[in-house]
């Protein structure tokens, strides 16, 4: 299944929490976005040759949903795996048992950082047969 990337929310503040606005709470739409973005990044990295990065998200959370602690910790574990497979980008919370705005910012920010890095990597790829070393063109891979 192809997952869609949705711009994450990574700039929640204590003021948002105090105000009780949409960034100060975690709704089903937020969790669906977090899950889907994680799966999207896992797929992108897999397509670029990174191994063992499957994540099966739950993307159908509704307001009737009650995620378990185990499930939230799976989300955190997926973030840890992504980070360890790539570059050590960003910070992650130790647990999602009692999530605050910082923890959710970090969970949303990690896939965004990886996505940005992957994008830069793609732009730096060099076509085979175009690399020179000491004035000698390296042979194409047969």
């Amino acid at each position: 299944m192809a997952y869609i990337w949705t711009t994450p929310v990574t700039d929640r503040t204590a003021g948002d929490v105090s105000a009780g606005n949409s960034k100060g709470v975690l709704n089903a739409t937020d969790l669906n976005r977090i899950e889907q973005n994680l799966a999207y990044i896992a797929d992108v990295m897999t397509a670029h040759g990174y191994a063992g990065l499957t994540y099966s998200p739950v993307v159908s959370w509704a307001e009737s949903g009650i995620p378990s602690l185990s499930h939230m910790q799976q989300i955190l574990a997926a973030c840890v795996t992504l980070r360890e497979s790539f570059y050590y980008l960003g910070s992650l919370p130790a647990t999602l048992q009692r999530p605050d705005y910082t923890a959710i910012n970090q969970i949303e920010n990690l896939p965004a950082l990886i996505k940005e890095a992957m994008s830069r990597l793609e732009k730096s790829y060099i076509f085979s047969g175009t690399i020179n070393s000491a004035g000698v063109a390296l042979p194409q891979n047969a």
């Binding site: 929640r12 948002d16 929490v17 009780g20 949409s22 100060g24 709470v25 975690l26 709704n27 089903a28 969790l31 959370w61 509704a62 307001e63 009737s64 949903g65 009650i66 995620p67 378990s68 602690l69 185990s70 939230m72 999602l96 048992q97 009692r98 999530p99 605050d100 705005y101 923890a103 959710i104």
Partner: protein, 505 residues
């Protein structure tokens, strides 16, 4: 607790449960639909607080301040019943909680405890009580509730089923979250509604009696709920055994007041003049029940304190919690004759005296039997903590005690100077054995020579019966003593009459 702050702030609270005491154990709760974390059987387990503010995805509910907790379904926690239904944009919901009972009950009303951690409540709901024929015996619709504890007076008589239909949550997009349901009204009194509170707790130092501790609570009755003549009042539902739990607190400011549990007492009487704005409830500790119930004497010529407590529980038909000093619990006592006419209170009193112990009910409701002995000093009662100079007295001087079981067993102890006139005291105790009689006579004589300190203090709610204190007299001399009585009063401030006795001479 800062009980003696220079500028002291005091507080009092009390919880009085006008409830059907047997309804919860006879109740079977069912519901129109339950969420996955719901544990509907918990609505009758006596726990009125949620363990956590549980994390769920109801719209705009899960505030990202670290207060909401995700849990796994197998984790032990208190949730009560959570509806599967969620209210709409206007808060409208359709969820039902049905309570079915095995036998008919009567209650003054219904108290529902909503989620106290998340502060999520139902504003509108209808309670209907049915009798065994299916006829509605009482119904009432509540609107605009904003309280986590919602008590509704509706006078339900001989009901076997209660249906609570929840129609609107206080906030939109919320489940119904019911932690506990109580058949009755739970009255919460605080400093705004308490006019005065007086509590008397006492130990008999020689166990010649078994005092009953008592609390008198006078409170705002401007709603006339406690007037006997009020047909809609609570009087018809006031029965012996209704629990009254009391707390008192002190601190240097209102914000720093710490409350101390003063114990649970059980309803005894109430009164309210019809032209008065206050009513008074009198409640006593569990010893009151022992006064009215005959002690069923088991067979056998000897017994022990441990066996007697089991027998007292059986005689009362109650499961009292006991704390028996290990040095005396298995000591052999003479058993009563099976045709003895003795109350449970008298039996316990005589057992305590025969074992040279005292008995009192502690603040946790535990009936405690132990020797009264000096321990670690908990408090120094000096002029900073007392408002009167301690008065020191002794009992009439005796120099001989004869302790007998009124039959063949007796023991004597004499401590008489050669020039003294004989002053004899005879004590009869049916439970004495020949092995105990002389020792009890000696103990009673020594106890009679204790110094007794009587003083008025500023009041310390944390000090308990049998605590060891240092009493500083008018000459600055320190006396170690054990608290045997305190009469503590709250009327906006706290004051206390204290009695304490010295070690045995």
């Amino acid at each position: 607790m800062d009980a003696y702050a220079a500028e002291r702030h005091c507080d009092a609270s009390a919880v009085f449960q006008i409830v059907d005491l047997t309804a919860s154990s006879d109740m079977t709760p069912t519901a129109s639909g339950s969420a996955s974390l719901s544990q509907i059987a918990q609505v009758k387990n006596g726990v009125v607080n949620q363990t956590y503010k549980l994390a769920t995805l109801e719209k705009d509910y899960l505030k990202l301040d670290g207060s909401a907790v995700f849990v796994d379904s197998g984790e032990s926690h208190e949730s009560g019943w959570w509806s599967s239904a969620i209210s709409d944009d206007s808060g409208v919901i359709d969820a039902t909680l049905t309570l079915t009972f095995g036998s008919a009950h009567s209650a003054y009303g219904l108290t529902i405890y909503f989620d106290d951690k998340a502060k999520e409540v139902v504003s509108d709901y209808t309670i209907t009580a049915y009798n065994s024929s299916g006829t509605a015996v009482a119904t009432k619709t509540v609107t605009g509730n904003a309280s986590v504890i919602s008590g509704t007076v509706l006078g339900m008589t001989n009901f076997t089923k209660i249906v609570v239909h929840f129609t609107k949550t206080a906030k939109p997009h919320r489940r119904v979250r019911v932690t506990e349901v109580v058949c009755g009204i739970v009255e919460y009194f605080d400093r705004n509604s308490i006019s005065s509170l007086k509590m008397i707790r006492e130990i008999s130092g020689d166990s010649s009696a078994l005092p009953i501790s008592e609390v008198q609570l006078t409170f705002d009755n401007s709603n006339q709920r406690y007037n006997m003549a009020n047909p809609a009042g609570a009087f018809a539902y006031l029965k012996t055994g209704l629990p009254l739990t009391v707390k008192l607190g002190c601190g240097a400011s209102d914000d720093t007041i710490e409350m101390a549990d003063m114990g649970t007492f059980y309803y005894n009487t109430s009164n309210s003049d019809d032209d008065a704005l206050t009513a008074t409830i009198t409640a006593q500790d569990v010893i009151q029940y022992m006064e009215k119930v005959p002690y069923t004497v088991p067979s056998g010529t000897t017994t022990t304190l441990a066996a007697m407590t089991t027998q007292i529980n059986a005689s009362l038909g109650m499961t009292l919690t006991w704390s028996l000093d290990s040095s005396v619990s298995a000591t052999s006592l003479t058993n009563y004759a099976t045709d003895s006419n003795v109350t449970c209170r008298q039996a316990l009193q005589e057992a305590c005296q025969a074992l040279k112990c005292v008995c009192y009910v502690n603040r946790l409701g535990v009936v405690t039997v132990k020797p009264l002995a000096v321990g670690t000093v908990k408090e120094i009662l000096n002029k900073d903590k007392l408002v009167t100079v301690p008065k020191i007295t002794t009992e009439e001087h005796i120099n001989k005690v004869v302790a007998s079981n009124g039959d063949t067993i007796s023991g004597t102890y004499t401590d008489k100077g050669s020039s003294e006139v004989l002053q004899e005291k005879d004590v009869s105790n049916s439970l004495l054995t020949s092995a105990l009689a002389s020792g009890v006579a000696q103990w009673l004589l020594k106890v009679s020579r204790r110094y007794k300190y009587t003083m008025t203090g500023r009041g310390n709610p944390e000090r308990d019966l049998a605590d060891t204190v240092t009493v500083v007299d008018a000459f600055g001399t320190n006396h170690t003593a054990m608290v045997t009585k305190h009469t503590i009063e709250y009327d906006g401030g706290i004051s206390e009459e204290i009695e304490a006795v010295s070690e045995e001479a």
